[in-house]
Symmetry: D2
């Protein structure tokens, strides 16, 4: 019997001692102003037992973690059609490079690089009447938590400075792989990234990926096969050009965000979310990565 | 209780009906002369029960599958030192491209692209007195099967035509990441690739990766942690630029070879090997990929 | 004494016989509707004698040829400051690739790839009170021809479909190498490209590059040194990834446009403009290239 | 009337005052041991008048300058057939990159990147009975100077350390664009690069490129058309990824070598050679580049 509480308490102790905490993202003021001293970790297991340590109930900007949730939502809506517009291979390149997009005629390498997530956003904008409202409802329902909100300030800041995303969306448009106009799709995209959630809420949302598509209340959102695919994508592409390293050191499917959050999961066993705003050179939370390595090493369990 | 025998018999039936069987590798006569009609599959489970169907006992050239075995051998010998000379990230590029090697100053992206495997070969050539003999003994011991042999004809054919490997080794040498001379390292490398094994022997050799580093006879070759890492590498990099697709469709760590073999494994559960010489456009066995997808779909189990 | 008239008349005869005339650009209706049968050529020599054959007085969309004129205008205004924001090396890549821009942190390879020309446009938008009006006046003055006009329909069509240019401008903006907003700069850029001129007017405008910076009426626009640099750029970068081929076959500095125009010049000797709307695979006028090769071969003179 | 002697004397004076002289190539001892204080310049004009200043009669390793001479020799022998195996476009990349070679299926971008020069060497090895002897005779005849020699020590040092060239040759071989074996071609290649010549001899050898293919003694080696093409290649590709810069600043066709030599020419007017062993970051002689810029600025003449 694994004592998760004791393990995560030790992780929090280690995190407090860490002197090199990485660099907090500074491209928008809302992220830059978060203290690098924050650290939270939360585990929700298959039996719905939960374990919490540190600032696990404090909300933060989930940023790219939202890409898994829009993928799940759109995959549920359109099925395998989706893979005609986005590939499933690791990019081997930093998350913002447009080179591959050009080489591969507008088909993004995977749904977790920005260009890929923008295509997914485009699919939702096409499919939904009120994309922002309906996506938020989806998240609230998935987590059974109606308190979850977009952070408008964050969304507007991203809108003002997100030129690389405008470049990506325009390039997609030039290849015919964006069906709505650039402004509408990016408006949705910046809002999805601005979602504010805490570690507890993230494990709640990612419960379906650990539980064959079924949420805590028993509603089925995705098939086993669809979950397998999303988890495979998280493992091979969830951490930009550090995906191999994460698979190698941690051995769990997961996804990071520039706000310092990471969610990961061991199928049939648990979901875990960490939050520590300082990032390493590849844009992933420095202490979050270390925490998850410690977790899988101490429990002795990974998907491998 | 899963009926593996019935599942693999069905797979063999389906393989016989397949009209599009891919293209047999033709760059050396020894590979070109193999019939594309061949198909074998073999499962060895965690309880050492085995299931066989088709030409599972017929030997073939394992080619790149050998890269996992040299990695395991050298990892056991030198430990984490190894990762100073080779990275652990997917390449996002076809297996023979030298571009990344130049961009990244002679550190191959991972041990399964040719350049990475040549660095691993170099480590063994440095460490072992009689590299070819000792590596063969390692395989024979691992499988408890002294009948396994190199195919000299294959090795010599590769030597005559393997100019891209000479290019890769020379480039590694120019960056100081090859410590022995090009000829000696490639001699070893061409021999390792020429190993002839059948599906049964491959599952036997890969048993350690399914069983936390312990072989069938109970000898420990690798730590749990080392096995986690090798499995992670197989998942993220085992199928060249189709690794994402394999993870996505099949959801098992595995490795393919240009001779038409694929080995894969579900940790704690089973090893599986398939053989079908026809390759798809990315150089992986066409029917082998399909067989493994059928297997994980029918059993309902993958690592995700 | 070279008989230019006879040479260009022969060239026109050959052009009429050509069966493979290339493909007329079709991305906007205004270009697509031009007949591929059109062919004109015009020579203006250092003594202001001129030679005309074919449809040399029929206007067409000069498109990328305008990049040399905005470069000359901005070089005259800001001097060598300009080279802090754009490099002078051939790109070795098709004209619309953004990859290099990412690799080189937002400094375009040269002022003739789209990203480079957009930076030049940005400089003019910063410097001029009424950029479009003032640039048009500059051209009218240079050619002593007040009939030259923008084609608004062309500019608006480009604006509606020019997503790759939006992508390039957004990417430049993300690197801080665009000082005005994307919309204003591209508005100017699309207008400059929409300039309508005929072969005669083009030789008139390019007279300064053949004559050490002095126009036909004797006004000095650029120094000898500045002209050397612009001519060097035309030679090394004026024909996208076919610049080497043009230098090799024709041996003159020049610039092509997707509307089928080419202008080239032999310093101290003559300017020549050709127009033939059909393009080769690299986006340069097929018969125009052939005409200029014939011209330099028959006259026996090139810069080499 | 331009006073070349006075100009080059001033250049030598400036070169003596230079404190930042670049870095002498150090990859082989024979180059590393040359003093960075050396500086020579030599002009040979169309009337066979010559001007000399500094150490213009001291021999040095011409290295990549030899690529123009093997190109001229092979172009004379096989004519336009040559361009089926090597392209004429600038590479936009440092001289030793193999990436483009892979992307473009073994056709080197131009004859002045190493891979291209190796293809030219291969052509000579195929065509000549005694390649090294016959190429040396060609140079001796061209210059009317039987004292010119290979430096065997240099050739052997290159052979021992030239792994990137082995990589390039092996890669060419893998694409079928090397008809002889790697060792024979590189043996010739390393010898050609080891040629020792002084500035006077270099201007003598390059006289044909300034004089429409005719040497000083009146023998015709190349047609006017062939010379145009070689000069165009020197201008667009003669200085690696600094070719644009050289065209832009100097405005003459030329070629540099890692031994610190540069030869350039103004058609119908003069040949000039400089020697200064210190290199800039792109591998071209730092003071040599500056000298040639000063020369074209002071004379007021370039090809543009």
């Amino acid at each position: 019997m694994i004592d998760y509480q004791s393990i995560i308490d030790t992780i929090v102790t280690h995190s407090k001692e860490a002197t090199n905490r990485g660099i907090v993202a500074s491209y928008i003021p809302e992220l830059a102003n978060v203290s690098s001293q924050k650290f939270g970790i939360y585990i929700l297991d298959a039996n719905k037992k939960s374990y919490s340590s540190g600032e696990a109930l404090e909300g933060f900007s989930i940023q790219s973690i939202s890409k898994v949730l829009t993928l799940a939502f759109s995959f549920g809506l359109v099925g395998d059609e989706l893979w005609k517009r986005v590939d499933v291979e690791p990019s081997g390149d930093p998350f913002n490079h447009l080179s591959l997009l050009e080489q591969e005629n507008g088909i993004p390498r995977n749904p977790f690089i920005n260009a890929g997530a923008i295509v997914i956003a485009d699919i939702l904008v096409s499919r939904l009447k009120k994309p922002k409202e309906e996506f938020l409802s989806f998240i609230q329902e998935l987590t059974n938590d109606s308190s979850i909100r977009y952070n408008e300030k964050v969304a507007l800041s991203e809108k003002r400075t997100g030129y690389k995303n405008y470049a990506a969306a325009s390039l997609l448009k030039s290849y015919g792989n964006l069906h709505n106009d650039v402004e509408s799709v990016l408006d949705f995209y910046f809002y999805q990234c601005s979602l504010e959630m805490n570690c507890q809420q993230l494990t709640s949302a990612f419960y379906i990926f650990m539980n064959h598509g079924k949420c805590q209340r028993g509603k089925i959102y995705l098939t086993t096969n669809q979950v397998k695919r999303i988890n495979a994508l998280m493992l091979t592409c969830g951490f930009y050009d550090e995906a191999g390293e994460f698979a190698f050191e941690v051995g769990l499917p997961g996804k990071s965000g520039v706000g310092g959050g990471i969610v990961a999961l061991l199928p049939n066993t648990y979901c875990v979310a960490t939050w520590s705003p300082g990032l390493n050179a590849k844009g992933n939370s420095k202490l979050g990565m270390a925490a998850l390595e410690e977790l899988t090493t101490k429990t002795g369990h990974s998907i491998f």
